[in-house]
């Protein structure tokens, strides 16, 4: 069946009420029955929930074949926990047919690719998939198609019971002996634990893995002891160097700066750029650099930002400290400046992934967002964005909060160079649609700006401000004139990944790539 972004969705996926994507507010007003977890009672007072090893914790939680384990990615590329848990499950307990429900999987999780190839891990549900895991899934090694969801789509699916987590693992920079966890205070600080919160509330069992045990009560806690079954203390939960970079520096690349300046110009040309406006930006070169130019316009007009959300890094914390933004609320921290600021700097708070971006709750932050600035691997002439598959068709990206913020915000700006090496970023048809074109409003490239024709109001704003813009078709033609028109990718029939829209409908599928034989 062809969906609203023109993608053919195989009928065999449309079972158990699954539907194809039908537009950005299709599910609005419908009801959702929440799925409650089955929790073990801990009535008899116990001094501590500490168990010796991860294997012991697994046993205590009744781990068995076919279960679903969840992980969160606040430790980013420094994470040790997912690998330690899977090693204990597969190699010590001999479990198989496991499903991993992660908020993101990256290079840190390369060892898990082996378990996929061995058939021990048969399911992957994630909001990001990179490194070897992406490679082996792309090449068809996983038994069932991977399910890719946005950061908002994931808590929606958990709450709706579409993902039932048997055991959730919380990688906690600090915990007390009964499982009150925080993201700061230890040797592997990561700041916010926002992505772990929904998992902890909806999983049957919750295991905390920490490398810094602190006195009870570890408060205010991000994940609370009332939801935790066991605490495991290990030597190290992650490599601090890879958890948070020293400081996210604003790019000095002239191309990034040129694009960032145009992003700020576009923002400043709209009526939403007024006292108290809200903003989210990515941490990529041109997206982050937009902060710098935006500040200039804010000073010029004498206005302040009301609040900012997102993954947060230093430059936004800097604005908060300067009093130029009222509140910063985040699900994740990207650098030490942000890690050291959350819950410390007045106005810097933590929130859960559901509160951030879930389309099925009663008021996620993204719905109140004025502007979001996002990157793209590819964007096509229908303004559909791909942030999941490389233009070679291999899984190596993350929808993350991209589709959520794009759908929720009043103005969604994609900023990307027209080409990367020989790859045309602006193209005829993206490999995979991860953010539908009806959620994307403006494209800023190094070769010009294009506005989605669905937003005549923004076109008028740009015209009034004298900001030149062109059609997205002309940008695509320019890209192809530079790099040549690429050949179409060739695919096998096997679906290796299903891309769910944030509302749970199917947006696209990724098939197994057929390597080119010359």
């Amino acid at each position: 069946m062809i969906n609203a972004v023109g993608r053919e969705i195989p009928e065999e996926l449309l079972v158990n009420g699954k539907e194809v994507y039908q537009g950005k507010y299709y599910m609005d007003g419908k009801y959702l029955q929440k799925a409650a977890p089955r929790n073990r009672r801990y009535e008899k007072p116990a001094e501590s929930k500490i168990v010796e090893t991860i294997a012991d914790a697994l046993k205590q939680c009744g781990a068995k074949d076919g279960m679903t384990f969840s992980f969160h990615h606040h430790l980013r590329n420094g994470d040790f926990v997912a690998n330690m848990v899977m090693q204990a499950a597969v190699e010590e307990l001999g479990l198989k047919d496991l499903t991993i429900a992660a908020t993101s999987l990256g290079e840190a999780h390369d060892p898990i690719a082996d378990y996929i190839e061995q058939g021990k891990v048969v399911g992957i549900q994630t909001s990001g998939i990179r490194g070897r895991v992406g490679d082996v899934v792309s090449h068809g090694a996983l038994k069932t198609p991977a399910i890719i969801r946005s950061h908002g789509g994931r808590p929606r699916a958990i709450e709706a019971g579409e993902v039932h987590i048997d055991i959730a693992f919380v990688a906690a920079p600090t915990s007390d002996c009964v499982g009150n966890c925080r993201g700061i205070g230890g040797k592997s600080n990561c700041g916010s634990l926002g992505y772990a919160m929904t998992d902890a509330k909806y999983a049957d069992h919750v295991v905390v893995v920490t490398d810094c045990l602190v006195d009870f009560p570890n408060f205010p806690a991000s994940v609370e002891a009332i939801d935790v079954d066991a605490v495991v203390v290990v030597d190290s939960i992650g490599n601090p160097k890879k958890i948070a970079s020293a400081a996210a520096r604003i790019s000095q690349n002239p191309r990034d700066l040129m694009m960032a300046e145009n992003v700020a110009k576009v923002i400043a040309s709209t009526p939403y750029f007024k006292e108290g406006f809200s903003f989210q930006t990515g941490v990529g070169g041109p997206s982050l650099a937009a902060n710098l130019f935006l500040e200039k316009y804010m000073d010029e007009r004498g206005i302040k930002m009301g609040w900012a959300i997102g993954g947060i890094c230093g430059p936004m914390v800097e604005l908060l400290k300067k009093g130029k933004v009222g509140k910063v609320i985040d699900v994740q921290d990207f650098d030490l400046d942000a890690v050291n600021s959350i819950n410390q700097t007045p106005g810097h708070y933590e929130m859960s992934a559901s509160q951030y971006a879930n389309p099925a709750n009663k008021g996620a932050f993204v719905n109140k967002l004025d502007f979001v600035v996002l990157a793209a691997l590819e964007i096509d002439t229908g303004f559909n964005v791909n942030v999941l598959t490389g233009s070679d068709g291999v899984l190596r990206g993350a929808p993350g909060g991209h589709p959520d913020t794009a759908a929720g915000s009043k103005v969604c700006i994609i900023v990307t160079p027209l080409t990367r090496g020989r790859m045309a970023t602006v193209c005829e048809k993206v490999v995979t649609v991860t953010t539908p074109g009806d959620c994307v409003d403006v494209l800023v490239t190094d070769y010009g700006i294009a506005v989605n024709p669905l937003r005549p109001d923004l076109i008028e704003c740009l015209d009034k401000a004298g900001i030149p813009h062109v059609t997205i078709e002309s940008l695509k033609e320019k890209a192809y004139s530079l790099v040549g028109r690429p050949d179409d990718l060739e695919w096998e029939d096997k679906v290796v990944a299903v891309l769910e829209a944030r509302d749970g409908t199917i947006l696209d599928v990724v098939r197994k790539i057929k390597p080119l034989e010359l």
Binding site: Q252, P254, R255, M258, D446, Y447, L482
Partner: protein, 304 residues
């Protein structure tokens, strides 16, 4: 194959950005930053054993990349190297707008290059005289011979000083107030103006010193330079800002040119505009201001 229009000897050249001709990632779209000219470098930026490879890259860049209205100049290797003749052949064959003669010290140097350029134009069927020349003065001798160099050929559109080498020769170093090069810059400017060609200042290499860069550009403008060589796209904006005329200058220039068109049609030679007496001698300056204003987006009329 891209055929570039015939180069204009005198055009706006506020910013000339250096680019290593050997780096495909750099030269493919250097024009997007909006500099007036790009300077593809075969000389210092290219290692001695990659001179050949750089020429192949340059040839295909010149013939396949559409640089649009951005002028494309190539800096060739010095006349004391084994490379310059082949450099000239590839520039002419590829259709570069102009050639920058490195380490130029005399009118003879210009004549030597001009002869090779003419030979190449004949060899590759290019209109004789199409390829423009500019000279880089890098030594005290070059500065002393500035006038004969500037006046050596009808192909010469400009002259530039190269600070790094010149300071070494002079046994000085970069000074914030520009005193190290004040005399050389002044002498070169006088020579260029006497010969009726353009004059460009050297690069400013400390990308982090924004204040120093601004001071130097302001001084360049005050001294009368036409433009400046740059090493990074992020320097372009400031030069264009500093070199932009004021709103008042633009309006006056527009009034002068308009009045001149009307008055000369009526046979009047001397007239007044806004209380100032104007004759034909004011026209080139006013036209230059309007061209500059147009490039800066401050003038949209059709007088230039």
């Amino acid at each position: 194959m891209i055929r570039r229009p015939k180069p204009e000897r005198f055009r706006l050249r506020r910013t000339m950005m250096f680019m290593n001709a050997q780096k495909p990632g750099l030269i493919k779209d250097a024009y997007i930053y909006g500099c007036d000219s790009i300077m593809l470098d075969l000389e210092d930026a290219v290692a001695e054993n990659q001179k050949d490879a750089a020429r192949f890259s340059l040839y295909h860049a010149l013939t396949t990349i559409d640089y649009g209205a951005t002028e494309v100049i190539v800096r060739i290797n010095g006349l004391d190297t084994p490379h310059w003749q082949e450099d000239i052949r590839v520039c002419v064959a590829g259709g570069a707008d102009g050639i920058r003669i490195a380490k130029c010290e005399s009118a003879q140097d210009v004549h030597t290059v001009e002869a090779a350029v003419e030979a190449a134009e004949k060899e590759f069927g290019v209109e004789v005289g199409r390829t423009l020349l500019m000279a880089a003065l890098e030594s005290p001798k070059g500065i002393l011979n500035a006038y004969e160099i500037c006046a050596a050929s009808d192909r010469m559109f400009g002259v530039a000083i190269s600070g790094g080498d010149f300071r070494k020769c002079l046994q000085t170093s970069f000074q914030r107030d520009g005193v190290d090069m004040l005399v050389a810059r002044g002498q070169m400017l006088i020579a260029a103006r006497a010969a009726g060609i353009q004059c460009f200042d050297t690069v400013f290499t400390d990308l982090d010193d924004e204040e120093g860069f601004r001071a130097e550009v302001l001084q360049n403008k005050a001294m009368g330079f036409d433009g400046k060589s740059l090493i990074n796209p992020k320097q372009i904006r400031l030069v264009h800002e500093v070199f932009a005329p004021t709103e008042k200058e633009v309006r006056q220039a527009e009034a002068v040119v308009r009045a001149f068109v009307e008055q000369s049609a009526a046979g009047v030679g001397v007239f007044t505009v806004n209380g100032k007496m104007i004759d034909v001698a004011f026209i080139p300056g006013a036209q230059r201001t309007l061209r500059l204003a147009k490039a800066c987006g401050m003038y949209e009329g059709d007088l230039v």
